[in-house]
Assembly symmetry: C2
Homo-oligomer: 456 residues x 2
């Protein structure tokens, strides 16, 4: 109750004519409220417990949609609605892998999205193992004929997630490159920084061959077997299927602006997840962060501009960003700025804004608000916003990016280990505090992120 009273006071102050000092004081109040608030935790706890894994095309996705609508309504959002679309959905079936010889043993795999199934009864073939992806690419056409190509290069750990960009092609493009060289199957060391026996899935380009991720220990085991110099034979059994036009939904809620409701700030995370975990860090956290931040920034005192939260419905297999872009192409000019939270629940350690907004008093106030919680402002605009807002960005919407500490993210990402217990509530609150401070200031000011970069 005391917390609520404090917030009300801050909100009343917000109604006063804004100048830099007021803005900073108001934003600090929002930040501190967010740091003490548990809404984001409650949201991600609810989603991961009551819905669990949410792969597009599965019945759980319908329950996730209904959960999203109910959650937004319960939290006081307006104009809560669902925007349906259809998308291709790859559905995992039975999966098993084993070394048949010379040293028989089981392998832990997870099929990659878009993998072909094996023939009924499985696929048995000799492996051709490459310790780097480049070594696979160096193979001439036909060199892998009849083989299962295996790439065992390990992804390095980075705080800024840059190693993902440097290694994800081993998973996405690897099957196609292997098939082009004659391979009949493809196994890749999981794009993972963990040493756990859990494989990490993810999307791949359709290549017409079975393709799966090995757990890191299994990749190292195949390296050891291959190093013994005798042909190693592996058997795969995989039975996936594809739904060409699966129903999917973007779930939307708003807090309408009091003065300029047509000026819209679009934020969100994605509601779908891969199937092995419960989608806690990817991307229950993003849904929770953006929903909680919008609520803290926008209620009970309505902001001047509209805050819109979108729970995108098919990020992992693609489709929700494109559908959202198509449905809102006429609105892009009125989108003040867009942002997606899709890098887990680690603390924000840097913020990147469109260059034109950096020196606006509201954004100077933002810098002052988040500096004490460890967030410096980058002078460079973000190079990337998030896959669900790429279509908006391509159409001209400005975007921001709050860089989260990704050091542990790829230990968990796309694996069975993506579960609620991996989220630190204190870290989660820090992220919400950064988002809420920003949303408050962007929605209660006239900052124009499309402005030319000020000369200095």
């Amino acid at each position: 109750m005391r917390q609520f009273a404090c917030f009300l006071a801050a909100a009343l102050v917000a109604a006063a004519p804004a100048h830099a000092q007021d803005l900073a004081a108001q934003a600090a109040g929002v930040r501190d409220k967010a740091l003490a608030d548990s809404t984001a935790w409650t949201i991600v706890e609810s989603l991961t417990s009551e819905v669990g894994a949410r792969p597009v095309g599965a019945p759980a996705m319908e329950r996730a949609r209904d959960w999203g609508v109910a959650t937004l309504i319960a939290l006081g959002f307006e104009n809560v609605h669902v925007e349906p679309f259809t998308t291709k959905a790859w559905i995992r079936g039975e999966e098993a892998a084993e070394v048949v010889g010379p040293w028989p043993q089981k392998l832990q795999i997870l099929g990659l999205g878009n993998s072909a199934p094996t023939p009924t009864g499985g696929l048995t073939a000799e492996i051709a193992l490459f310790r780097t992806y480049q070594a696979l690419l160096d193979q001439p056409p036909g060199a892998l004929k009849g083989k299962i190509a295996v790439v065992t290069q390990a992804m390095p750990r980075t705080k800024d997630a840059s190693s993902y960009g440097a290694s994800v092609a081993w998973r996405t493009t690897g099957p196609l490159e292997a098939a082009r060289r004659g391979a009949v199957g493809y196994l890749v060391r999981s794009i993972s920084t963990a040493d756990s026996r859990l494989p990490h899935t993810g999307l791949s380009d359709p290549a017409g061959i079975p393709a799966a991720a090995l757990s890191p220990p299994d990749a190292e085991q195949l390296e050891r077997l291959a190093a013994r110099g005798r042909p190693v034979t592996v058997r795969l059994v995989m039975s996936s299927r594809v739904i060409a036009a699966a129903p999917a939904w973007n779930v939307v809620g708003e807090i309408r602006g009091s003065e300029r409701p047509d000026e819209v700030i679009v934020v969100g995370g994605h509601l779908d997840s891969w199937d092995p975990g419960t989608g806690a860090i990817d991307d229950g956290a993003g849904v929770a962060i953006t929903t909680a931040a919008a609520r803290i920034a926008g209620l009970p005192q309505r902001p001047k501009r509209t805050l819109r939260v979108v729970m995108w419905g098919s990020e992992e297999q693609g489709g929700s960003g494109a559908a959202y872009g198509r449905a809102h192409q006429d609105e892009v000019a009125r989108i003040v700025v867009a942002g997606e939270a899709d890098l887990g629940a680690g603390r924000v350690w840097r913020a990147a804004l469109p260059a034109g907004g950096l020196d606006h008093p509201a954004m100077r106030a933002f810098a002052a608000t988040v500096a004490p919680i460890g967030v410096p402002m980058m002078r460079e605009p973000p190079r990337y916003g998030g896959s669900d807002i790429q279509a908006l960005i391509a159409a001209g919407a400005p975007c921001f990016l709050f860089g989260q500490d990704a050091s542990r993210y790829f230990d968990l990402h796309h694996s069975a280990d993506d579960t609620l217990d991996k989220i630190d509530p204190a870290d989660l609150s820090q992220v919400v505090a950064v988002w809420a401070s920003f949303l408050y200031l962007a929605a209660n000011s006239d900052v124009d992120f499309r402005a030319a970069k000020p000369t200095r």
Copy 2:
């Protein structure tokens, strides 16, 4: 080559009349040779790569037996042979678990050894969840009628493995205690210190009901669902079977003593493992440590007493220690001392010897030899030697115990994560150095571990 020359010099010195200073110098040479030696790594790499998981009753166990014989012969052991016995073997079948309602989702489980299978088609029942084992025990007879009992208490992390003793009853006796109260199934949070989504198996007392371990995140998920106050229904499908008298083998090799070959020092690890991992820390490491240490201590210069290495063939499900004790009951009086390495590959941080040997010059030399590598001598004798030597100990054989750092052991133990990459070669060498120093000194002296404790 240089290493070999150094060792030969040390071995020649060993032939000189032993007094305390000589002994210490010789043992230091053995220790340093072991620290630089990779035999143990080579052994555990070979076993885990070429055989992999080795559950008793499975064909892999025969390959493990043959591997053991070939390895001991290749390393120069004598009298290499197999001692067959039979034992009960529980064989895992299909396993699956899911929450049926109100929030449907899959659960990650591993059946416990001795679990009953479910009826064909599975077992579906409401859960009764207890956050402590005591809360289950507090239930009166009949209180769990028709329910699947769930115990979610978390095992704490300890360096000395004492928390395992404090919690393992939740797994071993839990199914029986649940069945006594009317439960039709039993789920226990894995006896594990990890937060990974991998369950940890292990033996349980036969209770006539299906019993399985939940991964720690799944146990916490069930806590959250149960806390919502609505009945939670779970479905189990498990199809294990039992082989009443499975063939099994203890594999033995010796380095015969040059002066008193009938005085035997018995050491070893167990060759079998649970099925989900490759049995690297449990207990490929123990096999490797004791085999490598005996070879370093006993070759090329034969010791005065006999060093015997045993690779016990059914520790996890029991049987190999009892079989060994039965086969060697007439020999117990000639067993100088016995030791089993079965706590992974973490560094030795303390050593416990029978009280009577502590003040013998050879054991004073041992204390001086291992002190520089971080191993203090306990003044108390070991309370436990190892399950495969319990029958020997009960019949009067003295035992020693080198306490290894178990801080991470129960992150991996009995799970799919028990793989070679979890072993640090430097830590492994330190353990071998402790064992080799001890074996050298015990086999080249007249230390009598049965002596009355010296008065001081």
